[in-house]
Structures are given as C-alpha cells and as structure tokens.
Amino acid sequence: DQQVKQNSPSLSVQEGRISILNCDYTNSMFDYFLWYKKYPAEGPTFLISISSIKDKNEDGRFTVFLNKSAKHLSLHIVPSQPGDSAVYFCAASAKLTGGGNKLTFGTGTQLKVEL
C-alpha cells in the first residue's frame, strides 16, 4: 500500500524557469510533510517541510504548497538552477506509538535542469 506517491519519475526544466514537483498521499494522520533532495552516493538532504495545519511554507527559492482536501502537495523551485538537478523525495511524517515519528517516502522524481 503506497501511502505516498510521486507519479512523475522524471522532470526536465530549463534553467531560470519554475520546477514543480508533485506528491499525493492517502493517510490523513500524517502531521508533517517534507521534501528531501538526493545526489548519487549521498544520503537525502532535508529541503523544506510543512505542518499539516498550514497550506504554504516558503524558504528562499523553495515553496511547498499543501492541499489537504485533495491530499496533494507540491514543491516549487524558482528560479531553477543546474545545481538543483537531483532526485527529489516527498516524505510524510506519522507518529509512532512509542513517541517518535517515522517518515514514509515516495519513490522520487529525477529533476534535470538544463542550460
């Protein structure tokens, strides 16, 4: 049961334009949503997160939008830069019975920013 889905395995965008990465989820109990960026041979790097009670969070070139009624979130990168080329993972946080949280990841979207 895939609770977090990224339906686009790849996305190609020109430098300077907007990149929009999408993510859908099914579990209403998720309390935070996060985006991670991953380069080959490295671990995922945290980019930005949003609480389930918010609908927008912005940090520099990165903005995450949350539509709870549609169970959909998106990451906007403006302007896109060649260094943004990486795999982007959407993740959702849910509480553990023992008191912490676990992340459920999507399958990732490979972003390529072309000159």
Binding site: Y32, G43, T97, G98, G100, N101, L103, F105
Partner: protein, 114 residues
C-alpha cells in the same frame, strides 16, 4: 562539525551470513532511525531509537534487529541474509525523533548480498 557517520560504506556478503551496520549521530542528537532504500524506491522505515529505547519498528522480519548505545550510536543487525536484503541502508539522526524537522541522514551503507 561532523555529520551522521555510517560504516562501512560498502560491503558484500553471501546469502545466509550476518551483517552489522554502524551509525554515529550528530553530536547532541539522541535519536537514530534506520531506513532501507532498494533501487528505484524511496527509503523505507526500519527502526527508531531514542535514549536506547526502541520507539517503533517498520514492516521488516525479525531477522532485522537494532540497538542504541549510551553514547547514542547505533547498530543495525541483519541475520540470515537474503538476496532481497541488497540495498542502501540509511541512518537518520535527530534531537528527539519527533516532528517534521531535523532528520539528518548519513551517506548510507551499500549492502550487496550474493
């Protein structure tokens, strides 16, 4: 400042063997989580530990076990290795394992089972 350190970076094991993977969290972080990433998939939650106590376990067989030491470092153990255990194993460190912030991942251990 040292980030999350995982060792070894790569290893090759034979089916049926046992493996131990190690993780040192960021200084001051008391929680460690383990994730398995199979090729083409997102990371999947295995365990979370906080102050040496297990807080949660993902949908993995009992062949997978872990522990956290007083210095907050952690070990992931896998017994009776199967070909399907071949994956990148990631360790994530955080202050207390809560919320949507501050999960810092290591670069992972690439395990190949032959």
């Amino acid at each position: 400042d040292a980030g999350v350190t995982q060792s070894p970076t790569h290893l090759i094991k034979t089916r049926g063997q046992h493996v131990t993977l190690r993780c040192s969290p960021i200084s001051g972080h008391k929680s460690v989580s383990w994730y398995q990433q199979v090729l083409g998939q997102g990371p999947q939650f295995i365990f979370q530990y906080y102050e040496k106590e297990e807080r949660g376990r993902g949908n993995f067989p009992d062949r997978f076990s872990a522990r956290q030491f007083p210095n907050y470092s952690s070990e992931l153990n896998v017994n009776a290795l199967l070909l399907g255990d071949s994956a990148l194993y990631l360790c994530a460190s955080s202050l207390d394992g809560r919320g949507g912030y501050g999960y810092t991942f290591g670069s992972g251990t690439r395990l190949t089972v032959v």
